[in-house]
């Protein structure tokens, strides 16, 4: 088990280095001239040149990368081109709100998805199952921002029970969470339904039924317990999907998180900020995948020898 964990962590580190290289190359090397962007269209060549030297942009790209990574190891993500403040401090003030939002969205997916999964599994192939499954298909096809705007209009503007966006406590969190929950819950529902139906066909569940255990007891004690394992695994991976698309919810609900920060930085072509947010979000994705794999290694020893 120890070797498995170490190997898995090693892989995660390789992936993170890969991300940093690709992101750095594409963000720093591809644009023709960051110095020109910073200086603006009317700056003299001398000014542009000075900026280039100050930022180390005249160095070969691999040297720039090593410098960046060296700074990164000291917790320094560079300085914003536009605001001239440390990227780290900008990001750290936005991490809390994004974590809050992600957690809210994630919990809402579970709150909607798991009961529907249990319900459709218990009533599989009946009309209610077909109807809910059809709705689920529409749910995963909805653009999260469009649904968000419709809900904002309905429950923020017409019936004013929720704020029209903004960052804050639970009150501000409910609408974006419901929005994301609706578009993401279907995955949990389908997964739970199919694993539950699998488990229901197992001999030990038949045995429990044969013993005369109540349907309720069979479902909650025997079926659900075993069917939830793949759901938990998926939940870990799903956090990655959530963070990858967080910018759309934040923009729609005017939520002041990392997605918004990155979005504004992209508008300003503020490359150190973009690079920092991309890297940090990727770290979280890799971290959650790692946790899932390690937990799974404990639950199911077979995968360790893959």
């Amino acid at each position: 088990m120890g070797a498995y964990i170490i190997r898995r962590i090693g892989q995660a580190i390789i992936v993170l280095i890969g991300i940093s290289i690709i992101a750095f190359l594409l963000l720093y090397a591809v644009p023709a001239d960051p110095a020109r962007i910073i200086a603006g269209p009317h700056a003299t060549p001398d000014v542009v040149n000075q900026i280039r030297i100050n930022l180390g942009l005249n160095l070969p790209i691999w040297e720039q990368y090593l410098k960046y990574m060296g700074n990164l190891l000291h917790g320094n993500l560079g300085t914003s081109y536009i605001f001239h403040t440390s990227v780290m401090s900008q990001i750290s003030s936005r991490m809390g709100p994004t974590a809050e939002l992600a957690l809210g969205c994630w919990i809402m997916e579970l709150i909607i998805g798991i009961p529907l999964g249990i319900y459709t599994a218990r009533h599989a192939n009946k009309v209610r199952d077909v109807v809910i499954s059809a709705l689920a298909l529409i749910g995963i096809s909805l653009p999260v921002y469009w649904l968000g705007l419709l809900l904002l209009f309905a429950f923020g503007f017409k019936i004013q029970i929720f704020p029209l966006g903004g960052t804050g406590g639970i009150y501000y969190l409910i609408l974006p969470s419901i929005t994301y929950g609706i578009t993401g819950a279907a995955y949990y529902m389908r997964l739970l339904k199919s694993t539950m139906l699998d488990v229901m066909n197992q001999d030990y569940v038949r045995t429990a039924r044969a013993k005369g255990a109540s349907e309720r007891r069979v479902i909650y004690r025997h079926v659900l317990r075993n069917a939830l394992i793949p759901v938990i695994t998926f939940a870990g991976i799903d956090i990655g999907t959530l963070l990858a698309g967080v910018v759309l919810i934040e923009e729609t609900f005017n939520w002041n998180g990392m997605g918004m920060l990155a979005y504004q930085a992209i508008g300003n072509q503020d490359i150190p900020v973009i690079m920092g947010t991309v890297l940090l979000l990727a770290v979280f994705v890799v971290l959650f995948n790692l946790i899932v794999d390690i937990v799974y290694g404990f639950v199911d020893p077979r995968i360790r020898y893959d």
Binding site: G18, Y145, G245
Partner: protein, 299 residues
Amino acid sequence: MSTNVGAVVQAPTKARTGKFKKSLKRYPLVYLGALIIVIMALLAILAPWISPHSPIATFNNALSEQGIPVGPSREFLLGADGNGRDVLSRVLWGGRISLLIGLLSMIINLVVGTVLGLIAGVFGGWVDALVMRITDTVLAFPFLLFALALVAILGSSLWNILLTIGILGWGVMARVVRGQVLQVRELEYVQAARALGATEWRIMFRIVLPNVFGPVIVLSTLQVGANILAAAGLSYLGMGIQPPTPDWGGMIQDGLTTYTYAPWEMYSAGIALVITVVGFNMLGDGLRDILDPQSATRQ
């Protein structure tokens, strides 16, 4: 003898189409999904001929004196947008962009993912390890954010958008193809072919590829929907297709300003987008049921 050879050649195809039709009847999702896609594709292809107006022309009679867009009427069936353009024409033309980006970027996903998945699965060893780490890397990128940044830096042309989505989105495809290859190679009839002296290339093309085909088709179908959503997301965030070129994501963004008093632009574009994506998701789910009967019985 020659008649017998003919029978051998023809019989399998006949038997297969017969089975195919039967299974299609059992899986209405496939029919319905395909129907939606065909309708949306036809509307998009025929947009130049069936649009009542030019999608980019502004009409004076589409705005009231206060500058408020007119609602659905005989002249503007789905109403007008804030610039006095015909929403219906823009929705029809917008489908062209969405479907084009969705399909072309899927093809890039497909080619890159399949080739890398096959390489990893077939060669194994350190090649496999390397390809899979690259795949993990691509999968760990905050997809939309990074695509947004790339398009912003490279410029938001149609090609840049579909290349970005194509090149960032092949990870799942590569994983699935690799997994399938590894599974197929362990099958005993692959061993049998090897025992007969078949080359690895022959095994690859005659046995492995046909087995990889099914999951790849399912995934590609679902990927078109996902890519259409991603491209619309980029436009919604202002980094996709630039106005006045009609595009559903851009129309949703555009409709935001007039939403409270003229919501038809946002409804029309959003509903068109949802219907299209539902079509691809339906078809993909339906095909999965056919190709994997085990999951079908669960549904």
